[in-house]
């Protein structure tokens, strides 16, 4: 051991309890946080009575069909909207290129359900567009054809508009990583610029595109607000309906298990692509490729390809929200609104702090005691983000309800008091569910920050006699302050946006901004919903701005992908 060569005064006594404690509590923690997954998965072994037959007979095929159609449509949508702009801003030079580079990310700030409410308000029969058409041409309702926004096609359009940035971001990072000389090699071997794109740049970016697509599809499967509002029966609405409408918890859990299978296919697709992309690394970035200027028709085309997604994915809905919020400000800015705001912020702050503490504990434990089991534990924890909010909610609610029943029975027998539902009836269960879902984001960010600190720093600290916990506080945490703040912000915003889990798990009469938006929209008070919706969008802009800053040329392409890639389960960092 190296320690033996140190002067006696500097020797740290090996403390065996500590060496055991950290990995053990890590394992325990992952087990607790993995309960929802295990509960949902094991639900398939329980009989659900005739509810399953009922589902099979009536709606199940519709769920599968709609979810599959949605996934197919969104795939086409995000690929069409994401790849071309990524290529344009990477390989070409045109006025405004640098602005488009980050502006293309803006739609990420608008949750899917909010863009759906906004466009419905604008394009519905009573909306401003159709009203204007009727007035101008003196038509009456039924005289003309207008695309129905509340449809499968409408949902595909909405989800594509807000999820394409995942494809754009990963694709852009892949293009940026490609060594310029690879493209030059293709040119010198007789390829035209377009030929080089098709034969070299695209195939090289393919794994990254698949990763971005998988993330977009996971979000699609997780979406509840949009499909619910558009009246589409998919897995998420089905789970909610089976739970609330049919009152069958086991049936809902089994539906959730089925949905989880879809998700795991996506997760394995994503991790396989990530592994492949390591081999597609073109190595030392000797020279980034020179950007070619665009002229004439091509320039107009580039502005269309880069401008339209930003226009319809962000500018139009954002402006509409702002206008509505301005109109309804008087009725919206009531004490109730600030109550919802406070609820949202409180939940988000508590969850963010808890997630950061756990993430530090896990990531640092992995650094101190790297082992197969700690890697496996953090992988299991990482799965949470891929899970739709409805699945997490079901997986959390079932064990908590059971625990609550036991607890109150015990308290009743022992102390003769019934405190009610201590866990599942309070905000505690919400925070727990959020942690299951969003801890991976904090973990990813913290691990990325920790990874940048060289191991020699640890050795230096150890050689000066610091214990691990003190070293974390005095060396690592100050050095990675940026990552810690980022982790807090990302979790904060995701909690602010979260809808389906909050809807299922919130305590009675407990409202948040997201819930209020949902309720008002479902009462067809879309203009009134704009206030809380705008508050959520403004909060969501923070991480998007952070992400945009990281796009500056100095920042590594991988780094930016790290921040957005919330799926730590598949990053394969241990390799």
């Amino acid at each position: 051991m190296k320690v033996d060569t140190l002067p006696t005064s500097l020797k740290t006594r090996p403390s065996f309890e500590k060496i055991e404690a950290w990995p053990l509590s890590l394992l325990l923690l992952s087990l607790i946080l993995a309960t929802p997954i295990l509960v949902v998965a094991s639900s398939v072994f329980f009989p659900a009575g005739d509810i399953w037959e009922h589902l099979l007979d009536t709606v199940l095929t519709r769920y599968v069909k709609n979810s599959a159609a949605l996934m197919l449509g969104v795939s086409i949508g995000v690929l069409a909207l994401g790849i071309l702009p990524a290529w344009l801003v990477s390989a070409y030079r045109f006025p405004g290129r640098a602005i488009f580079e980050w502006a293309l990310l803006l739609p990420l700030a608008i949750p899917a359900y909010i863009i759906a409410y906004t466009y419905t308000g604008m394009l519905d029969v009573a909306g401003p567009l159709q009203s204007a058409l009727r007035e101008t041409f003196d038509w009456r309702y039924g005289d003309y054809w207008f695309p129905e926004i509340r449809s499968l096609g409408g949902a595909i359009a909405m989800l594509s508009l807000v999820f394409y940035p995942y494809v754009y971001l990963l694709c852009r990072a892949a293009f940026a990583e490609q060594s310029g000389s690879v493209m030059e090699a293709a040119r010198s071997l007789g390829c035209t610029p377009r030929g080089a794109f098709v034969r070299v740049a695209m195939p090289l970016a393919r794994p990254a595109i698949v990763v971005g697509l998988s993330i977009a599809l996971m979000e699609t499967l997780a979406d509840y607000g949009t499909v619910q509002y558009f009246g589409l029966s998919t897995f998420t609405t089905g789970i909610y309906r089976t739970w609330n409408g049919l009152g069958s918890s086991v049936g809902a859990a089994q539906l959730a298990a089925l949905l989880m299978c879809f998700v795991f296919v996506l997760v394995s697709l994503e991790s396989a692509s990530r592994r492949q992309s390591q081999f597609f690394n073109t190595g030392s970035r000797v020279r980034p490729g020179a950007r070619v200027p665009l002229h004439g028709v091509e320039l107009v085309g580039a502005y269309m390809a880069c401008g339209l997604p930003v226009l319809f994915g962000f500018l139009v809905p954002f402006t509409q929200l702002a206008v509505w919020a301005g109109l309804t400000a008087e009725t919206i800015l009531t004490r109730d609104f600030f109550g919802y705001f406070l609820n949202s912020v409180t939940l988000a702050v508590i969850t963010a702090l808890a997630a950061l503490a756990l993430a530090l504990f896990i990531a640092y434990g992995k650094r101190l005691y790297p082992s197969r089991s700690s890697t496996a534990a953090s992988r299991v924890l990482g799965l949470g983000y891929a899970l739709p909010g409805t699945v997490v909610a079901i997986g959390v609610l079932l064990p908590f309800a059971w625990l609550d029943n036991r607890l109150s029975a015990f308290l009743l027998a022992r102390f003769d008091t019934n405190p009610g539902l201590l866990l599942s009836g309070t905000a505690f269960i919400l925070v727990f569910a959020y942690l299951v879902r969003f801890l991976p984001i904090a973990m990813n960010t913290v691990e990325a920050g920790l990874g940048k600190i060289k191991p020699s720093m640890d050795e230096a600290g150890r050689s000066m006699g610091l214990r691990p916990a003190i070293m974390l506080r005095r060396i690592h945490m100050p050095m990675m302050r940026g990552s810690l703040v980022t982790a807090l912000l990302l979790v904060f915003v995701d909690v602010m946006k979260e809808l389906p889990a909050t809807l299922l798990l919130r305590p009675f009469n407990f409202n948040t901004l997201a819930i209020r938006t949902y309720e008002l929209a479902n009462e067809e008070r879309l203009a009134d919903a704009a206030g809380p919706a705008l508050a959520i969008v403004l909060a969501s802009l923070i991480p998007v701005i952070l992400l945009s800053l990281s796009l500056r040329p100095s920042a590594g392409a991988l780094e930016e992908a790290d921040i957005i890639n919330k799926n730590s389960n598949t990053t394969g960092k241990e390799s």
């Binding site: 000389s181 030059e184 010198s188 071997l189 034969r199 081999f279």
Partner: protein
Amino acid sequence: MTSPALQLDDVSVHLSDQLIVDGVSFTVPAGGIGCLLGASGCGKTTLLRAIAGFVPLSGGRVLLDGREISAQGRSLAIEQRRVGMVFQDHSLFPHLTVKENIGFGLHTVARRERDARVAELAALLEIEALLDAYPHRLSGGQQQRVAIARAMAPRPEVLLLDEPFSSLDVELRETLAREIRAVLKAEGVTAILVSHNQFEAFAMADAIGVVKTGRLLQWDNAFNLYHTPASLAVADFVGEGVLIAGHKVDEHAVETELGLIDTRQIQDFNLPDCEDISLLLRPDDVFHDDDSPIKARIVEKAFRGAVFLYTLELTSGTRVLSLAPSHHDHAIGEPMGIRLDVEHLVAFPKLPIA
């Protein structure tokens, strides 16, 4: 089927308003191998990229077989100029196998013909066993061979190699350089190599151009560059050696610290028109001779296998280099007898003392 001659005519290149290549002219005859030699940042790679068409010319022109392929404001598209390029980092396509990499430039060619060409090059470069492997499986030397095969597959009119051996182990470089030279000669391809390593250049090229701050200082074969450098800068960059002061007594004699040099016994010399001159002494000009009256103290010695390279200090403090067979093993600090045996006298006007 030798490829055509490449001619550069007063070529200049600006990169972001900075003059990088300044009026370079040279010709590589059909099937010849030229080398641009210079320290990093001297503009040699930019010049190579200008020939390939990756950067535009700001002056002069590039001709292939008398046909203009680049001039100021005019440039044949890269994919139409039929230049092959071997990149410093090899830049193999990671998503394609070795076979697909080599065949990449032949996609318009019939499959059977393409396979035949790939097989031919694989045999020539001894990489037949690797054809189905992906690039990340290959060692640096193997990647290098694939990169060369890929560049040569479409039978380019000129092959450009950018520091082709810089990412390889030192031991590999010279052997590979000689081997690649044989392959290029077998294919009869006109080639230009960029290197900062003179031994690589000597091993591979027929003619070498020394480049400094964007200017071509001298274009000549290796022997002449070494023994008759046109300028002090070339003498300084190519080979080892020291400058010692000399005094021209008359047209036939130069007085130095190491004795009088009689130029009538030297076949090859140029004397500047001034009395005080600097003479370039290569290590092989200074012979070890125990009987010589001139003694010098050994300051440093480097073992090079067959020979020792001694750094010697004369009584005046001037240092010279000397190569001696390695069985003449003397200790540092010992005096050693030396005598001059100059075959090529290289002299420059004496430099003002800096």
